[in-house]
Amino acid sequence: MKENHIVYLLERRSLGSLSVAELEMVKAHTAACPECLLAYQAAQASLLLLQERASVIVEPPPFFQTKVLAAIREQKLSSKRLRFSRLWQTARPLVASMGALVVLLLALTFFNNSEPPTEPSNVASVNDSAPEWVIVDSDDAGDEMTYSQALTVLYDPTMEAGDADGK
């Protein structure tokens, strides 16, 4: 059966950091305990493997600085592009609606210009043939004004409102 103390000692600290006395104790115990011997051998092998692995170091290549600076420039450029695309995505609906509004305004302007201009005299003649409307002054229900009288008042600035009433 494994002695917990030995295994605990092997796990609590790195084998390389054990004192001479502690190592002697481990060795003395493992001499009589095959299971702990395996654990000790495994701990030894683990430490050796780790040390060998740590000795493998890759040296920086000669133009590493240049590569890093190029990567930084590339990153800056792509972040600018990203910022612009984000801005465009946000502004796109606004730009589209503004464009649609401009098109609508242009269409309305064109449509309005293509209609023949209306003459005031024509309006009057058309209105002459129209049924006689009566304009009622709300202040005085008795005062009535025909449509043609109202037009005269509106288009003849020299005429006083009182004349139109016949006063």
Partner: protein, 204 residues
Amino acid sequence: MTDPLEQASDLELAKLAQETDETAFAEIVRRYSPRVFQIASRFFRDRTQVEDASQEIFLRAYTHLADYEGRGSLEGWLTRIATTTCLNLLRNSQRRPESDLAEMPEAEAEWLDHHLAGVSAERHRAAEKSREAADLADRVLGTLSPDDRLVLMLVDADEMSIKDVAGATGWSESKVKVQAFRARRRMREAVEKLLTVRKRNPSK
């Protein structure tokens, strides 16, 4: 004539680089790329992977340069970025299944046999055996979690203090201790399995 930037202190370089002086940052890269490559080599074996990881570390350092206030050393600050970046890269990569351990090449099996036969450490460390040991170490470490791997490499292989590892990883000292304890157990158990197989079938 010597470049004035070569004479500049780390803090001066960091300040210049913060003001988007690319040549100052290039000097930082020149000064600390061996250290960064050393850290990345602990996590990755392949040269391309180490180089890519190192480039990523310096890119992150450049992006977060404004965070460096000059309270600690630039080397310590870069070590922390390097450690966390490599740990994240390792976490994103796939972990090797434990079943892969059984199918080891002849050379690695031989290394274990020599170990069991009690061949001296000097013999173990011979150049030709060194590569096999490193390969075997990668095989075993590949079955462990990235956190276990990190703590074993820093504490046991590099013999860094618990405090320094805590500083490099951003973990608490008690977390480093617990992680190291568990990682040692997992590594030992994995190697124990290999040794048991070799003891049973030494010729295989």
